[in-house]
């Protein structure tokens, strides 16, 4: 069965690129525009991996990670931050919140695929 990946980003072009890249690799992609939307979209579906931007309106990436980790079925789900912040504190905050890893924008599609494969095996 194809694995479900939740892609959360307020930039439509990033979402499009992520979806395009991952679908080509045979993954199913669920898109969400911000943290709040993401929490709504995961109702009733099983997500195997989460890719999230950090800077978003409504609920930002850090908040989303915290919210997800509080849901019992998401305690061990890999969560990857997509971030332009090269600030270590943002990355640190994400890791503290429970993120599994990060990808620094700009990234190449191959980098995204390799990280997803590393986490989903």
């Amino acid at each position: 069965m194809a694995r479900n990946i939740l892609s959360v980003d307020d930039s439509a072009s990033i979402r499009q690129l992520v979806s395009f890249t991952l679908k080509k690799e045979g993954y199913e992609v669920i898109e969400a525009v911000d943290g709040k939307d993401a929490l709504a979209k995961i109702q009733g579906v099983c997500v195997d991996l989460v890719l999230t931007d950090l800077n978003m309106p409504n609920l930002d990436g850090i908040g989303l990670i915290k919210a997800l980790r509080a849901i019992s079925s998401y305690r061990f789900t890999p969560i990857v931050m997509l971030t332009t912040e090269s600030h270590t504190d943002k990355k640190e905050a994400g890791k503290q919140a429970g993120a599994t890893g990060w990808i620094v924008k700009p990234f190449k599609p191959e980098q995204l695929i390799s990280v997803v494969k590393r986490l989903l095996g």
Partner: protein
């Protein structure tokens, strides 16, 4: 990517519209936090996505603006009308930049620089952080060092117990290491607590990985990048790969000492004893068994690696007369027999010492046998070479253009099989050129290239080797073959047969001879000869053909002839071996069932009627038959035929012995083998037995 760039352009226009609205509102209410956030986010997105889609200039340009708005968010800078107009001007600049075709000159570099400088002027000096400039995408490319050097690393991966908490699964990481090269993974579970004390959400395992790879150490670090601070990772180079090291690899004690698993004085103490060092360590309780195993694995990994390098440097061949090899294989065969006898005696006497010895001998014999068989293996390429000349000569003679391709020359087969293969292959290739490949004009008319292709390939498939001859010629003429089959009385005129069934007629004995083949446009020259010779050494023939598109004939051959896997059965007091390759299943035959069939030799196996041969009748055995007999069902060329025997004993690997000249004319027995207790078992020749039974039927009819 162009599609994505277009999506980015559209997004930027949308964001800029939103940005302008926000800026104008912000001018009215300079302290409105939401508005500042909105501006910051829009700039952030334009920057981040810009770099993703190749608009590096926009990314660089917006970077400074983003920095300024970040400072405003933090309250360090305030919103001023100058800032608003400058930001609005930069919106226009971004709009101009995003419309630029890729690689074109930036809209107006001087203007962009002007705006950037103005923004920069607002930033307090210490906040100008050069590290924040986004790295150009090209720098992210992983550099792979020298591709040729195979370096071996020892990686000690000690995840902290809470590693699962951030969603990490260590297994994909280990798998990823395996992709990097030849990896040897050893798992240590010595930290595993009692079940009652175990926290199912904690990780207690740790791993040692010995990895030989041509990637550099950064590629290995990269695998662990997400877990760096949740685990202890230690990567050590243990073999450089390039120089040939004459010395043996480090001793186990040295490895453990170097890894810090034992102390030097412990090491010295232990060295004074005389047992195997690893054993002593475990017994003494200084280290855990898995730790020693891990060190042993490292030792072995590197030793093998170095041995392989040595072998590559020093491989030579020795030429040995083949009769010497045959003699050796014969001796090994006898040894296998004697060994079986030894095992049997050992078990009868039930002497533990004897059993121990016999098991060891069994292991050695098996290894010796495999080695001896391996020596007889030759690459098939030697036979392939001679066909090239044949194809060239024959095609010139017939005025055809043929391109001959061979593949899998390195496939190894028993010497005797290769010798017997020559003639059948000559037949098949001859047929392909003669009847398969059309004349150049005819090929052109059919829309094919004037030059035909014949492909000869060999490949391994389990315990068999497949040799196929493929041509892109006319294919088999099913109509003509069917007509011929009806003529010969092999099929009734109104039978509806599949193409495959019709093709198989050409394999039937006596289907066609060289004399009448000229009247048929299809093929058939001596195909029955091919079939019988291939089947004589346990192989089978398969035909696939598409009219107009060519024909493929595949020969399935056993790897070796000297040893067969057989099914040992009994008939009366005698033992027989049925080659296992053709056995499909065994079913029971009761008296009742035999009666129900009214004397006809057929039985129902899962809704299929399977004819059987009553071996007691064939061999004229008089002894009383058991109440329940067994049918061994065999399958040869898609046909299922049963053989009725008294009892099935089981699988038996056996060395084939020739029966000698005196028994040359015996039909249905292909050889004999000597059992462990010295009795002789005959190896049944299934194909001949079937032919024999069919002849018998004809005579009765």
């Amino acid at each position: 990517m162009d599609e994505n760039r277009q999506a980015y352009r559209e997004e930027v226009h949308e964001l800029l519209g939103d940005l302008e609205d926000a800026l104008i509102e912000l001018e009215q209410t300079p302290d409105e936090r939401d508005l500042i956030d909105r501006v910051f986010r829009a700039m952030h997105t334009i920057k981040g996505s810009g770099a993703m889609f190749g608009f590096e200039d926009i990314a660089a340009f917006t970077h400074t603006i983003e920095t300024v708005y970040d400072l405003i968010r933090e309250g360090i800078l305030g919103v001023t009308p100058e800032l608003i107009s400058l930001t609005l001007a930069s919106c226009d600049q971004i709009k101009a930049m995003v419309e630029e075709p890729q690689g074109g000159e930036s809209a107006d570099t001087s203007k962009a620089q002007e705006i950037t400088d103005a923004f920069k002027a607002m930033i307090p000096a210490e906040d100008e952080n050069p590290a924040m400039v986004p790295a150009p995408a090209d720098d992210l490319k992983k550099e792979i060092q020298d591709n040729t050097a195979q370096i071996t690393y020892r990686i000690r991966f000690r995840p902290h117990t809470d590693i699962f908490a951030n969603g990490t699964n260590p297994i994909p990481l280990l798998n990823e290491l395996k992709y990097l090269g030849d990896a040897h993974v050893i798992c240590h579970l010595n930290n595993l607590p009692e079940l009652t004390d175990m926290d199912p959400e904690a990780c207690y395992a740790n791993w040692d990985i010995i990895l030989t790879t041509n990637h550099d150490v950064n590629a290995i670090r990269d695998v662990f990048i997400f877990v760096e601070d949740l685990s202890d990772i230690d990567i050590t180079k243990i073999d450089e790969g390039s120089e040939i090291d004459q010395d043996d690899y480090k001793r186990i004690g040295e490895i453990l000492f170097e890894r810090g698993d034992i102390k030097l004085n412990d090491l010295e103490l232990m060295l004074n004893r005389q047992k195997r060092f690893g054993e002593i360590l475990i017994e003494s309780g200084k280290v855990n068994r898995s730790v020693v195993q891990s060190a042993l694995a490292e030792q072995e990994h590197v030793r093998n690696l170095r041995k392989k390098r040595m072998v590559q440097d020093t491989t030579t061949n020795i030429r040995v007369p083949s009769h010497k090899l045959d003699a050796m294989v014969n001796l090994v065969g006898e040894m296998v027999t004697m060994q079986a006898r030894l095992t049997q005696i050992a078990h009868q006497k039930n002497d533990p010492d004897l059993i121990l010895v016999s098991e060891e001998v069994e292991r050695l014999t098996a290894e010796l046998r495999d080695n001896a068989m391996g020596i007889r293996m030759l690459p098939i390429g030697t036979t392939f070479a001679k066909f090239k000349r044949m194809v060239r000569d024959l095609s010139t003679e017939l005025g055809k253009e043929v391109d001959f391709i061979t593949q899998g020359e390195e496939t190894e087969l028993d010497k005797t099989v290769i010798e017997k293969l020559g003639d059948p292959l000559v037949h098949i290739i001859r047929n392909s050129i003669d009847h398969g490949i059309e004349l150049p004009q005819k090929r052109k008319a059919a829309g094919k290239p004037p030059q035909g292709t014949i492909e000869l390939r060999a490949e391994h498939s389990g315990a068999n080797v497949l040799i196929s001859v493929h041509d892109d010629g006319a294919g088999l003429d099913t109509d003509a073959i069917f007509k011929k089959a009806v003529e010969k009385g092999l099929a009734s005129p109104d039978a509806s047969l599949t193409d495959k069934e019709i093709h198989e007629f050409i394999l039937a004995p006596g289907f066609s001879t060289a004399k009448n083949v000229s009247s048929v446009s299809g093929r058939g020259v001596g195909m029955d000869v091919v079939t019988s010779s291939i089947e004589s050494f346990g192989g089978s023939v398969e035909i696939r053909s598409v009219r107009g598109n060519g024909t493929t004939i595949t020969l399935k051959l056993p790897l070796t002839l000297a040893i067969i896997d057989g099914l040992l059965v009994t008939l009366g007091d005698d033992l027989y071996v049925i080659p296992l390759g053709s056995v499909v299943e065994c079913v029971e035959l009761t008296k009742k069932e035999r009666k129900r069939a009214h004397g006809r030799h057929v039985t129902k196996v899962r809704d299929d009627l399977v004819p059987y041969i009553y071996l007691r009748e064939v061999f004229s055995l008089g002894s009383p038959k058991p109440a329940i007999e067994q049918i061994v069902i065999t399958q040869i060329n898609e046909r299922r035929i049963g053989f009725v025997v008294d009892k099935v004993i089981g699988e038996y690997q056996t060395v084939i012995k020739n029966l000698g000249k005196l028994f040359k004319n015996i039909d249905g027995v292909s050889g004999a083998t000597i059992m462990g207790d010295g009795t002789v078992a005959l190896i049944l020749d299934i194909t001949r037995l079937i032919v024999h039974a069919e002849d018998e039927d004809c005579r009765i009819a």
